[in-house]
Amino acid sequence: MEAYLVAILIITAIYVLLSLGLTLQYGLTGLINFGHVGFFCIGAYAAAILSAYAGLPVIVGFLAAIVLAGLAAFPIGLIALRLRDDYFAIVTLGFSETVRIIVTSEKQLTNGVQGIPGIPRLVDGVGILSALAVLAVLLAANGAAIYAFRRIVASPFGRMIEAIRDNEEAVKALGKDPARFKIQVLVLGAALAGLSGAFYAHYIGYVSPDQFNPLVTFYVWMAIIMGGVGRISGAIVGTALLMLFLEGSRFLRDVMPFISAVDMASIRIGAVGLALVLFTLYRPQGLMGDFTRRR
């Protein structure tokens, strides 16, 4: 039971990193990133390839995951500046699908659909102690990310990106260039997703393309919309709710065994859809309130 609880906490902490990245991009800056899973995927594969294939130390894989995911966001950012927000959403969605196509196709690098097994654990050993150690590392990473996040919000940079979200024309009129800030935010959020991906790869021990389908992106969207857009507390509460829902649906099958596994997967997708629709319709500010205006 404890082991199960720790496992859920680890996955939650991995998802909180993703949610924080998206909160920075959408919640604070208003960038509609529908390709979050693409950066997550880049991070996971970078860590997997460097540690399982190249045999490099884990820390190198982590750094590469952060840097590569951030770098991948840079050209997307350059394009984003020139697009209206809904076009940007489609472009990022296309980006994440393209990343998935690339990792599926480039077999000599990624082993295609079979995926990469045997990614070393962060902490050796199998007992609960090693799991707790992993959790501790993750919590430290989350703590650092949240600390950085709070510093960003309180800084001139934070005020600027929120101003961009609220009124981009006014920002331009003040002689500031929103483009630079948008790229920086996009790269930061993507780097956070890359870090999250590295943790994911080393925790699960195996990566394959079907772990990185767009559903993951919308899990994260569901989390921040449920929790409340633009707040750290919203990202955390929303992610906790998301995990409760994902794990709860697993228990539902124990209670109702007549529902097959594939049907349960469908029901889960349907519930994500229903949550997205209902929250957009009736509670756009999320559960934790919102210091942004109407959306």
């Binding site: 927000d85 809904d86 296309g94 049907d263 469908s266 029901i267 997708i269 756009p284």
Partner: protein, 288 residues
């Protein structure tokens, strides 16, 4: 040579699928003003509707009509239950809600029809030969079906009073409103058309390949790409761009491989957005 002509013909057929789905997207984008991500799953619904209709009646035409009716019904229900409520909100809210609607549709179809792939049971027909090029009679029927769907849409848009009102709303929603055009009736006409067209696209895709709950999602990216390429809000552009994209995908397959076909759609989309954001036939002010 015959090989390339075959590829072009295959490309034209898949281009019809892309063009029809892009037409559905561009109609919604032009009039309701948001990118409808539920288009892909409406296509899947059309494919399943046509499959069931075909199994019951044995007639593809009856199947196609049932599929189109199912697509139109879901379009109107989506508008009445969700999108109408969000009309005053940002297009982000509408986009997120359309993704949610798409997920719900996909889930319902996954539970109702299972996750195994289904195929249309059609009799095998010996292909006609034009010189060295084999031509499948079925492809011609599909082209005819797509053509009649297009004729209906363009007929409604350009020959009927409701079509004139739809174009007025697309042109300037505020002006249309003060001219006494009721947005509700225009919107319902729009969603009937958009849903039915997407459903016909899904049916053609299902006949050419297989029907599964995920099929529509995989076709969404090329559809968006063609809608942008053709110029958002331009019905003619969507169809032309869909055909171009379909042919480009098939002709590129021997060079880039089968899996990179969808990536090609993404590259085309990026290129158009960066170089000519209003696309082939789009209006300048509507772009980006």
């Amino acid at each position: 040579m015959a090989f390339w002509i075959e590829l072009v013909i295959a490309g034209l057929v898949s281009g019809l699928v892309i063009g029809l789905s892009a037409l559905s997207i561009t109609l919604v984008f032009g009039i309701a003003r948001f990118p409808n991500a539920a288009t892909g799953d409406t296509m899947t619904l059309g494919a399943y509707g046509a499959l069931i209709g075909h199994r019951i009646t044995g007639s593809l035409i009856a199947g196609g009509i049932l599929g189109a009716a199912a697509g139109a019904l879901v379009g109107v229900l989506g508008y009445l239950l969700i999108f109408r409520q969000l009309a005053r909100r940002s297009n982000v809210a509408l986009l997120v809600a359309s993704i949610g609607l798409g997920f719900m549709l996909r889930a319902a179809m996954g539970v109702a029809f299972g996750h195994s792939q289904s195929v249309f049971q059609l009799p095998l027909v010996r292909p006609w030969r034009l010189g060295e090029v084999p031509i499948q009679p079925n492809d011609l029927w599909l082209a005819l079906a797509a053509g009649s769907a297009l004729m209906v849409v363009f007929g409604v848009l350009y020959l009927t009073p409701i079509g004139r009102r739809m174009r007025a709303v697309a042109d300037d929603a505020a002006l249309a409103r003060v001219s006494g055009i009721s947005p509700d009736r225009v919107m319902i006409a729009l969603w009937v058309l958009a849903g039915a067209v997407a459903a016909v696209a899904g049916m053609i895709a299902g006949i050419k390949t297989v029907v599964s709950p995920e099929m529509g999602w995989d076709l969404l990216l090329p559809a968006f790409s063609a809608a942008i390429f053709g110029g958002i809000g331009s019905p003619v552009g969507a169809v032309v761009a869909g055909l171009i994209l379909g042919v480009a995908q098939e002709v590129a397959t021997p060079f880039v491989g089968f899996t990179y076909k969808i990536a090609l759609a993404f590259v085309v989309m990026l290129f158009v957005l960066l170089v000519r954001p209003r696309g082939l036939f789009g209006k300048l002010e509507g772009a980006r």
